[in-house]
């Protein structure tokens, strides 16, 4: 039988040494990793590094316009964060959809990103924030745009000596509006069949920057480029929402799998994007901002 050695470093520098020496498998909340080991999806690792004692990886902070979420932050902590409720409310919407109370208490945002599932719920919200991932090794730090990080299901550009230490994004302002929507087969403990996140900067009724990201409809989370281009410079109306929703359907390449069918997913991208945009429009009308 293969024996597994588990390292439990207390500090970041200690962890980076171990990563460099042994190239261990990283264990955060374990809600993906342990399932994969038990199910035979990955062979039993020779070395594991459990990072949950490293304080430097926890916490949510704002420094100037930059908001930073530690990689070890759990979804429960995200849901409790006033800072994120203000600057990334759609990330809270996504966090609320994840698993169950037990999973949200253990599962971390870092684990969700590093697991690299196209259905990972925190990823589309981070796409529309144009967040950067901070990766560190003993050789130093690098920042990678989240949209550049995933290369396929379960695949990333992380080197095996690197640790994700945090996620960083620029805080929006009063003109920023967000949404996150998803469909799952049941109300809890359901991996998304389709998801969509959006961020619009709207000033005086005109859309400036627009970002829309789609989950579970391509090998990685993707931007809906066609939809984004259509939105820029327009003002929101039901007609525009429909037009953009149709464009978003052409921005993705879903597949049939055990959870759903390609044709349905493609159509639902349209429904979710339209609903997201309509919700923003109704919020603005409610605020008298239009």
């Amino acid at each position: 039988m293969t024996q597994t050695v588990i390292f439990t470093p207390k500090s970041l520098s200690e962890a980076l040494e171990v990563l460099n020496d042994k190239k261990p498998v990283v264990l955060a909340g374990g809600t993906d990793l342990l399932v994969q080991i038990k199910g035979g999806g990955i062979p039993p690792p020779r070395y594991i590094i459990a990072i949950d004692n490293i304080k430097a990886l926890k916490g949510i902070k704002k420094n100037g316009r930059k908001v930073r979420i530690g990689a070890l932050t759990t979804f429960e902590e995200i849901l409790d964060s006033e800072l994120l409720a203000k600057f990334a409310p759609h990330l809270l919407e996504a966090s609320y959809e994840i698993g169950s109370p037990q999973i949200r208490a253990r599962g971390t945002i870092g684990g969700n990103i590093m697991n690299a599932s196209p259905a990972g719920d925190s990823i589309p919200p981070l796409f529309v924030l144009e967040a950067h991932l901070i990766l560190q090794s003993i050789e130093g730090r690098r920042k990678v745009a989240i949209s550049q990080f995933h290369t396929g299901p379960g695949k990333t550009i992380r080197r095996r000596d690197e640790l994700l230490i945090g996620i960083e994004f620029e805080a929006g302002d009063k003109s920023s509006r967000y949404f996150f929507m998803r469909l799952g087969t049941r109300k809890a403990l359901a991996i998304a069949k389709v998801s969509a996140a959006g961020m619009l900067n709207i000033k005086n009724g005109h859309i400036g920057k627009a970002r829309i990201a789609l989950g579970a409809v391509a090998p990685t989370v993707v931007y809906a480029h066609g939809a984004q281009d259509l939105l820029a410079g327009k003002s929101l109306s039901p007609e525009v929402a429909l037009l953009v929703a149709n464009a978003a359907q052409n921005d993705c390449h879903p597949i049939d799998d055990i959870r759903s069918q390609a044709e349905y997913r493609q159509a639902m991208v349209g429904v979710l994007v339209e609903r997201g945009l309509m919700r923003i429009m109704n919020e603005l009308n409610g605020d008298g901002q239009r």
Partner: protein, 754 residues
């Protein structure tokens, strides 16, 4: 009747919630070894070799046990004798057991399992039951791959259809359903020095397990003792298959002369254990202009899997239920259980009836729609009532509460009061179903329709009782303790049920078919007669009154005429012991006769029937096809609710399991018969968040032969949910889904095609 009809707190309930109780996985015996099951990698093939030579170097490896090691017969006896304990030459389904390895620890057993080399020559298998039926070349069972063909012939369907105003004809399909009991299968086999074998495990039917172990080990029944451990759910999934699990542990235990433990992994359990039969139903029914159900013609096919197991009886029950709870004089039913190269299907809450009732009740709504009649009114006109004769020719002499259940749900649900509520993309719909259920084993298993019980009063007025039926979480233990307490006049707390054990009472048949309360309840009432008589005799002496004037309630005996004259039952029992009066009793209960003519489908298949109606209120999202169930009202004629809270729990649990069957649960197999989603992340059962408001309604039309009028309950709440959901979806958005589960994708597709 102090304790009868009282919602006593469930015996063992607190222990379950706080994680206590002795489950089979908790058992540790000195010298215990572990085993793991070797399974077929293909759906059909010939076993060429099983080679464990690479295990011999594994420290702690104790050996390989296969069909060749079996001292007795290589057969799991159920209805027919076609299922082996271990496949010997030919494997017939993916995951079929072909041997076990034993080792000093579970980890070593699994290491050995991975090293065993199994060489199988793959053969073409039959996966689709419609193709397997009468396949010319591949013979899995008999000449035509049919385990059983059942029929009902009554009246003249052809001319009756000519009288109909509306005829609906369609095909319905239903998928596998997984029991999803919280505790996976597991057994411990403990060989004793005297050559006898003890079996501990999670199970519904200890006497089935005893028979199988005795057969495989070539032991007399007297030398096998089976003890049920706390059982974390069954739903039918622990009816026949635990026999297989027990033999897998008992064989190495017998040959190694050491205790053996075997606990299934969840995926292993899902791949290899029984499920609800997938079905294919072609159904045609017609009604006359005045709203009378005139004719039914149906073909009902169930996918039995590789071995017959319980399929013949499942089919029998499905056939009896294929007309629904209605009067209909012209009926022509043909039903078939077909052999395929897939995991054998078996018992599951409702036992062959939920599939066909999905068709029956969908058809009823469609006929009503064709007649432009309210679906409740259409059912009202056709529902069976006391004094009627069923479609299979049985006169219902008493206690038919069908109509009352219907009126109750209509009244409580706000039936079709939906127009103002539909808003945005959401459309509200209401759906109704009315179902019935033959309680007990009936003519399909009447040789087993008996049960034993034993009651022992101790000198301190505590009582133990034993029965041959089991508690698997459904609450039998509590209800039976209420019966014993009531019969003996003692407080509920004084009564303890002994773990069900084949050495305590005679073979009492299985715990299935919602039979435990009625059967063991009746046997216990008989068993209480003798101790009760001693108690009454002694009370009459102490109170100096005549025996028939003694009343006992919750530990006090008093004079019927003068309540002031009292004596405690403790004192009475002490005296009884002093006088060496008998305080132990045995009971034996047989059900009244049942009958069934397999050629005509005419007879009295069950002694009594339970009646139920459900109304589902839901919202359909017209853009996504998603269904949100808002409320379910579910009314059940249970004869008598001995413990109303537990009846309500059964209603809630069954409704939820029925919702899974209706909306999300679907075990899929690939073209080679391999199950694709044997795990709870992809086999989707409802979670707590998915549960709508459930309104349980109890209706009581007493069953004269039942204990206090109780009729037996447990399965019915699941049975009518899927058609009620289908009917509600049709009401909401006008699309009719005929293949379960009713997924968002299917509704969306149907809406788009409209």
């Amino acid at each position: 009747m102090g304790l009868i009809g009282k919602s006593v707190i469930k015996a063992g309930g607190v222990e379950r919630v706080t994680g206590k109780g002795t489950f089979v996985a908790d058992i540790k015996l000195p010298g215990m070894v572990y085993c793991a099951v070797i399974r077929s990698p293909v759906a059909r093939g010939d076993i060429i070799a099983i080679d464990d030579s690479s295990c011999n170097r594994v420290k702690g490896y104790l050996g390989l046990f296969t069909a060749k090691s079996i001292p007795g017969n290589n057969v799991i006896p159920i209805v027919f004798r076609d299922q082996p304990c271990f496949a010997a030459k030919r494997v017939n389904y993916h995951g079929e057991p072909i041997g076990v390895v034993a080792a000093e620890s579970k980890a070593i057993a699994h290491t050995a399992l991975n090293r065993i080399k199994v060489t199988v020559k793959e053969l073409e298998g039959l996966i689709d039951p419609l193709k397997a039926w009468g396949h010319r070349k591949i013979k899995l069972y008999g000449d035509d791959n049919i385990f059983r063909h059942s029929k009902i012939r009554r009246g003249d369907v052809e001319s009756a259809f000519r009288e109909c105003e509306v005829i609906i004809e369609d095909t319905y399909t239903t998928p596998y359903q997984e029991h999803a009991y919280i505790e996976p299968q597991g057994m411990v086999a403990n060989p004793l020095p005297d050559g006898t074998m003890e079996i501990y495990g999670s199970m519904q039917c200890p006497f089935y397990v005893r028979e199988a172990v005795a057969e495989v080990l070539a032991l007399p029944l007297s030398d096998v003792r089976v003890i049920q451990t706390s059982t974390g759910g069954g739903f039918g999934g622990k009816e026949d298959v635990p026999s297989l699990v027990a033999c897998q542990a008992a064989l190495p235990a017998c040959l190694l002369k050491r205790p053996v433990k075997l606990i299934y992994e969840r995926d292993e359990d899902m791949i290899s254990m029984s499920k609800r039969h997938p079905s294919w139903i072609h159904y045609k029914s017609g009604a006359t202009a005045d709203g009378i159900l005139r004719a039914i013609q149906a073909e009902y096919i169930i996918d039995g899997g590789a071995y017959s197991t319980l399929s013949p009886v499942v089919l029998f029950r499905g056939t009896v239920h294929s007309m629904g709870p209605y009067r209909c004089e012209n009926v022509h039913i043909d039903s078939y259980a077909v052999a395929t190269n897939k995991v054998p299907c078996g018992a599951f809450r409702g036992f062959g009836s939920p599939q066909i009732l999905f068709a029956v009740e969908s058809q009823m709504d469609r006929l009503a729609q064709g007649l432009k009649m309210d679906p409740a009114e259409f059912r009202r006109r056709n529902l069976l009532k006391t004094g009627d004769t069923t479609s299979f020719g049985q006169k219902l002499s008493w206690s038919v509460g069908a109509k009352e259940t219907l009126e109750k749900v209509v009244e409580h649900s706000g039936w079709r009061n939906h127009i103002p509520e539909s808003a945005g993309d959401k459309r509200i719909g209401y759906g109704l179903s009315t179902v019935f259920y033959g309680v007990g084993l009936g003519a399909g298993g009447k040789h087993l329709a008996r049960t034993g019980a034993r009651v022992m009063v101790e000198p301190d007025a505590s009582v133990t009782f034993s029965v041959g039926t089991t508690d698997m979480g459904q609450g039998m233990q509590t209800v039976l303790a209420q019966v014993v307490a009531q019969e003996l006049g003692l407080p509920f707390e004084n009564i303890r049920m002994m773990p069900t054990d084949t050495s305590r009472v005679p073979d009492s048949g299985p715990t299935v078919a919602s039979r435990a309360t009625t059967m063991s309840g009746n046997a216990l009432i008989i068993a209480c007669e003798k101790p009760r008589d001693s108690i009454l005799t002694e009370a009459s002496i102490l109170l100096k009154i005549e025996k028939h004037n003694v009343v006992i309630d919750e530990g006090i005996a008093f004079d019927r005429k003068d309540g002031r004259l009292k004596v405690t039952i403790k004192e009475i029992i002490k005296n009884c012991f002093g006088k060496r009066m008998p305080l132990t009793g045995d009971g034996w209960y047989n059900t009244p006769e049942t009958s069934w003519d397999n050629e005509t489908g005419i007879g009295e298949p069950y002694v009594t029937y339970a009646w139920a109606s459900n109304i589902v209120k839901l919202a359909v999202d017209t853009q996504t096809g998603e269904v949100e169930v808002l409320k379910i009202s579910s009314a059940h004629d249970v004869g008598k609710a001995i413990n109303p809270a537990m009846v309500e729990c059964q209603i809630e649990g069954g409704v939820i399991q029925g919702l899974g069957f209706a909306l999300t649960e679907e075990m899929m197999a690939d073209s080679k018969g391999k199950l694709l989603n044997p795990e709870f992340s992809t086999y989707i059962i409802p979670t707590a968040s998915d549960v709508p408001e459930i309104e349980p309604i109890i209706v009581e039309h007493p069953y004269p032969d039942g204990p206090y009028g109780a009729r037996g309950f447990g399965e019915q709440p699941l049975m009518g949910i899927a058609p009620a959901v289908a009917n509600a979806v049709a009401d909401a958005v006008g699309v009719r889904i005929t293949d379960l589960p009713i997924t968002a994708e299917k509704i969306w597709r149907a809406l788009r095609a409209k």
